[in-house]
């Protein structure tokens, strides 16, 4: 009885040793992190893009894809824009990042954004910095010039024939 109890104690010690060794191994960084969800807040790294139509209406909840400079075929990120038409991504490589926003009706944008090696700056870029009425006026001026040119060309052609 005594010897059996002693043997049991011996095996308990061995077992405890194995368990302790396994516990220590499990605490080693990497294996211990497996079930832990952590986070860190990093500011100034993301590039935000707002997609909207000419009258200012946001392309809200619209599908988008972001392609990295290294892989132009597989999207680095996919999702939907937010209520205000914004999407954001964190470039992990310098170069031209392609952003496609595709509305189910076919509208959308397909742009390339240069990402530098450093943190993103708060500088604004894009097509929205001209006054809203300037671009339609420019369009009208182009139409007027083209038709005036065609008219003069047609009259000249008719006079010469």
């Amino acid at each position: 009885m005594k010897s059996r109890a002693f043997r049991l104690q011996t095996s308990d010690f061995r077992l405890s040793g194995y368990i302790a060794a396994l516990t220590l191994a499990a605490i080693i960084p990497g294996s211990a992190e497996a079930h832990e969800t952590l986070h860190e807040v990093v500011r100034g790294k993301a590039i935000a893009v707002k997609a909207f139509v000419g009258d200012g209406e946001a392309l809200a909840y619209t599908e988008y894809e972001v392609f990295s400079p290294g892989d132009p075929k597989t999207p680095h990120q996919k999702g939907r824009t937010d209520r205000a038409g914004f999407l954001s991504f964190v470039p992990d490589a310098a170069g031209k990042w392609r952003v496609r926003v595709i509305e189910k009706g076919g509208h959308g944008i397909d742009i390339e954004i240069e990402a530098g090696p450093g943190p993103a700056s708060d500088q604004k870029e894009g097509t929205a910095h001209m006054h809203a009425w300037v671009r339609p006026l420019l369009g009208l001026a182009i139409i007027a010039v083209i038709f005036a040119g065609l008219y003069l060309l047609g009259r000249k052609k008719r006079a010469s024939s």
Binding site: V53, D55, G105, R135, G139, I143, I146, L150
Partner: protein, 209 residues
């Protein structure tokens, strides 16, 4: 209702350029031929007006918005080929100046919105004008808008079938998404076609006196 660059693969854009380029050349030649030159100031004004009305967004059911085109009116007043040339110019300027639509897909947008739509409107007007001129004008505008939208929906659906990486939304989603709202926008286009035609007729009658 304009396809942007990057959504359509060369399988579709190359045949579209091949089809549109001779039509552009032919329409330009016709515009510059003989007395047709004298029409250019009015055609230019109608093109400019079409450009402006296409910047005015109309809210439609479903929380989105769309715009009318004004190309069917040009097709009825002149012919579908003239409407094709005018709408192509509007689309080109929209792409370059307003960032709406694309350059590589220009012939697709032009063939759908500038040719098929106005052609359907012009044919409807031709078929119905002896029954009722106002009804013919209204229906022409409506049909032009719906046919143009359906053509774009069909093209985008075809693109998805050929290469989903270019356009990830399938036909069963994109086709109704484009066509159904334009059943309502077509009512506005039809009203515009009817009123603008009546107004132009009055102006011409006054000028003739």
């Amino acid at each position: 209702m304009h396809i942007p660059d990057g959504s359509i693969s060369p399988h579709i854009t190359i045949p579209a350029w091949t089809a549109a380029a001779p039509l552009w050349a032919w329409s330009l030649k016709r515009m510059l031929r003989g007395d047709a030159v004298e029409r250019l100031p009015v055609i230019g004004s109608l093109t400019a007006f079409a450009f402006v009305i296409q910047t005015i967004m109309i809210p439609i059911p479903g929380g989105t918005s769309a715009h009318i085109a004004g190309a069917v009116l040009i097709a009825i007043l002149y012919d579908p080929l003239t409407a094709f040339a005018c709408e192509s110019l509007v689309l080109l300027i929209q792409a370059f100046v307003l960032g709406i639509g694309g350059i590589t897909v220009l012939p697709l947008n032009a063939l759908a919105l500038g040719l098929l739509g106005p052609l359907a409107g012009w044919a409807s007007h031709l078929a119905l004008r002896n029954v009722s001129r106002p009804a013919a004008l209204f229906f022409a505008g409506w049909a032009g808008m719906v046919v143009g939208a359906a053509a774009l929906g069909g093209l985008l659906g075809l693109q998805h079938a050929i290469s989903p990486s270019h356009f990830p939304i399938p036909f069963k989603v994109v086709f109704p998404a484009l066509t159904v709202p334009h059943l309502f926008v077509g009512i506005v286009e039809g009203t515009y076609t009817l009123l603008a035609y009546a107004m132009l007729q009055k102006v011409l009658a006054r000028a003739a006196r």
